[in-house]
């Protein structure tokens, strides 16, 4: 078998290959006009990685802010009342000593409570949550807050890295599998 002829049609022709070429050429591609509908255009390019990075950062920031606000809302009123001059509130925030210590306060129902029973959506809005945090819970909340802040910093760093790498019209060599 003549490899050169098979490779680039150079050298001495191989009669068997020539015969095959002659027979199979009847199946050769015959160009037909390509019909591209007028309304079809190449889609606009979008940098999905960049958008995903932004979305992830925003989500993490929102989650961190939400958690921090929730934790802060339960702590600030007690501290604020305790430190206010002339306040009748108890001087120290009410913190249980251990996970098993749960204060139970039974009070007679007031007219406001009865109204709240009839309109539970109002009750939720008017009555502040009487939540007592143990020291352990406070420590856990603070640890969670620190972790979230760290995650936020990391996401921000990654976003900066993505921005640096993306750059303007950077040619990328690797191709996605399409189709």
């Amino acid at each position: 078998m003549n490899d050169d002829y098979l490779w680039d049609k150079s050298g001495e022709p191989d009669p068997e290959i020539q015969r095959l070429e002659q027979i199979l050429s009847t199946l050769r591609y015959q160009e037909k006009p390509l019909e591209l509908p007028e309304q079809i255009r190449p889609s606009r390019s979008t940098n999905h990685v960049f958008l995903l990075a932004i979305a992830a950062t925003v989500l993490i920031a929102l989650a961190a802010a939400g958690l921090w606000l929730t934790a802060h809302r339960n702590q600030v009123p007690q501290n604020h009342l305790a430190n206010a001059p002339g306040s009748n509130a108890t001087p120290e925030p009410k913190i249980a000593e251990g996970p098993t210590a749960k204060p139970k306060v039974v009070e007679p129902p007031t007219p406001g409570d009865r109204e709240n029973e009839r309109k539970p959506h109002l009750a939720k809005a008017r009555v502040p949550a009487k939540q007592v945090w143990t020291r352990k819970e406070q420590e856990e909340a603070l640890a969670a807050k620190q972790q979230l802040l760290l995650a936020l910093r990391l996401a921000s760093e990654k976003l900066n890295e993505v921005q640096r790498r993306a750059g303007p019209a950077t040619p990328v060599k690797n191709q996605h599998k399409v189709g």
Partner: protein, 195 residues
């Protein structure tokens, strides 16, 4: 054995070798045409269609029934036009559309398996066409890498270097596929009819 070697050959697609073999003229033409097409010039994409039609046709002819090939060629170029923005390296238009064609052929068989088995009618309109279809059916029994390369060489009339440039395979892989594929084809044809 042959299939494993062929698969390995396909996987060894050294970009350095490709860059060395690919002529700068072809590269610049592809890049220019893709840019024109992305800017909305349909003639630019039409020229890409003319340039790469035989490649897509050959890839499909090696995998799907002949009666389906022409429609699939149109579908593939239409799809490529819509997704042209996802092509990051404009010089790699050939390997990109070749991959689309291979995936579309796989998809075709997956769908037809769910519905009805599609077979080629080997009774051609004349004797030469019938004989060509018969030989093509034998080529289709060869491993993927061999049949694609052989069809591009024997049916579409492309040379080995052209096949390498347009498919993105290394010239060495194409040469090996051509040699081994032709050897197998001759064996099968010898057993069948003595050509």
């Amino acid at each position: 054995m042959y299939e494993l070697e062929a698969t390995a050959d396909i996987l060894v697609m050294s970009t350095q070798a490709k860059a060395a073999e690919r002529s700068t003229t072809t590269e610049s033409i592809e890049v220019r045409l893709v840019r024109r097409a992305l800017e909305g010039d349909r003639d630019g994409f039409g020229q890409l269609y003319s340039l790469y039609g035989p490649l897509v046709h050959g890839i499909l002819l090696a995998r799907v029934p002949r009666s389906e090939v022409d429609d699939l060629v149109q579908d593939i170029f239409l799809h490529a036009f819509k997704k042209l923005n996802t092509l990051r390296d404009w010089a790699s238009f050939g390997p990109w559309i070749a991959m689309i064609a291979r995936n579309r052929a796989i998809d075709f068989h997956r769908r037809s398996r769910d519905t009805v088995e599609v077979t080629d009618d080997i009774r051609g309109t004349d004797e030469s066409s019938s004989r060509a279809t018969e030989i093509l059916e034998i080529v289709k029994t060869l491993p993927d890498a061999y049949r694609e390369t052989l069809v591009l060489r024997l049916v579409e009339g492309m040379t080995g270097p052209e096949i390498a440039t347009r498919t993105g395979l290394t010239p060495a892989s194409v040469r090996v596929n051509l040699h081994r594929g032709m050897k197998l084809l001759k064996e099968k044809l010898g057993l069948k009819e003595g050509l």
